[in-house]
Amino acid sequence: MILTIAIMALGALVLGAALGYASIKFKVEGDPLVDKIEAILPQTQCGQCGYPGCKPYATAISAGEADINLCPPGGMDGVRKLADLLGREVKPLEAEETPKQVAIIDEQTCIGCTLCIQACPVDAIVGAAKQMHTIVEPLCTGCELCVKPCPVECITMEPITENLDNWKWKYPVIEIKRAA
């Protein structure tokens, strides 16, 4: 009996020592996974995931604190890529997936309060105090963060219209319900 315990203890000791040595010898700093996750996120910085920006969300995913289906701007595509990267199951998106939009300021109603300028995470709104503000369309990520602060509700979200520059060839087959 004692012999058994001794032998098992010896084994545990040897293995433990080896592991301890290895953990010192092969210590790795940092977490390159965060960058990879962040590269997939759409960088809208919208906070819809509940984290203040894409980087914090990426960190949370990497740490296993957040699920991968919290990013509506990234859409199902983003979820699929994250699932691929992390080897997790694909889950349906938490929120509704919306088409890409941009914010439009109604320049007639804008009173120039600068609140939206402060809210915009990517500096896509220009204007000065007591002057009308305008959203620089190509820079707008459609995060909707500017909509709430506006005291006169002059900001609306509008889907991006199709033009010759962003027009895409469609998938050549569509599903149609057939009676047969």
Binding site: K170, P172, V173, I174, E175, K177, R178, A180
Partner: protein, 341 residues
Amino acid sequence: MEFISTPPFLLLERSSVRRVMLQVLLALLPGIAAYVWLIGPAIVVQLAIATLAAVLGEALMLALRRKPLALFLSDGSAIVSAWLIALSFPPLAPWWLIVVGTLLAIVVAKHLYGGLGQNPFNPAMVAFSACIVSFPALMSQWPALGLQLSFGEQFQLIAGLLPRIDAMSGATPLDALKTALKLGDGQVDVPTLLATQDVFGHFAGRGWEWVAGGYLLGGLWMWQRKLITWHAPFGFLAGLSLLAAALWAWNPQQFADPLFHLLSGGAMLGAFFIVTDPVSGCTTPRGKLIFGLLAGVLAYIIRVFGGFPDGVAFAVLLMNLCVPLIDMYSQPPIFGLKDAP
């Protein structure tokens, strides 16, 4: 439920999946004719049973998956699979065996993967392998030589109305050779066996050698019609015969000659109708050659050293497994990038 909606290209050459499949069926006819002539008309019954089962199975799956029935039923691919199954099964196998095999092929091997064009495994070979593993006895009962049964009796045998008697069935030439060698325990040698036993003809199994010749004829016709390329059949026959020749040259007492192997079992049927299956086979020229070659080698190894009478089906399935990898690594260089490493 998928259906084309956008009007795309406008000029079309006159070719279609149905024409391809019909030509394959046509190419099988010489082999079938020899089969009926030399082995017995029972094969026609089996072909009918298999065709019926395949069409019903296909229709069932299409209906379940809500695909346009008429379009896919008329493509003929299920009938090709059915005929290949009937031709590879023993001609007097009970009807339910053929039905089980065919349904397995159509439902599991084909439609679970999405139907026409999407199955990674050859449906006919899945059917054969599954049945020989599950019903080894029934699958090795081939009509005994010189068995004179009327068409009616053969039909009754297939339908299970007549009891199966051992005297009615024998082994295939390949099996006979293998068993004799094993039983002989070094006492017998191949040349004497081939010369003395009834079951062997001029080159290989009596009768069967001409059926194989029929398949060869059909295959050459398909090649001439550019339905198939030479790569896969050549690779297969080369792999099989080269290995056979090497062992035969090394020890002619223990190993049969290459011609025997080429004309025995499913070699010819496999070479021209199975390994040329574009869906489950390789697609690049180099890939086809490798696919055929390795399938030939594996078929020989399994039929000579393994536990089953013939190895073509398993060899093809094993090579089906390797297809994605072979295709991936045998991509031909593209226009303008031929010098690139």
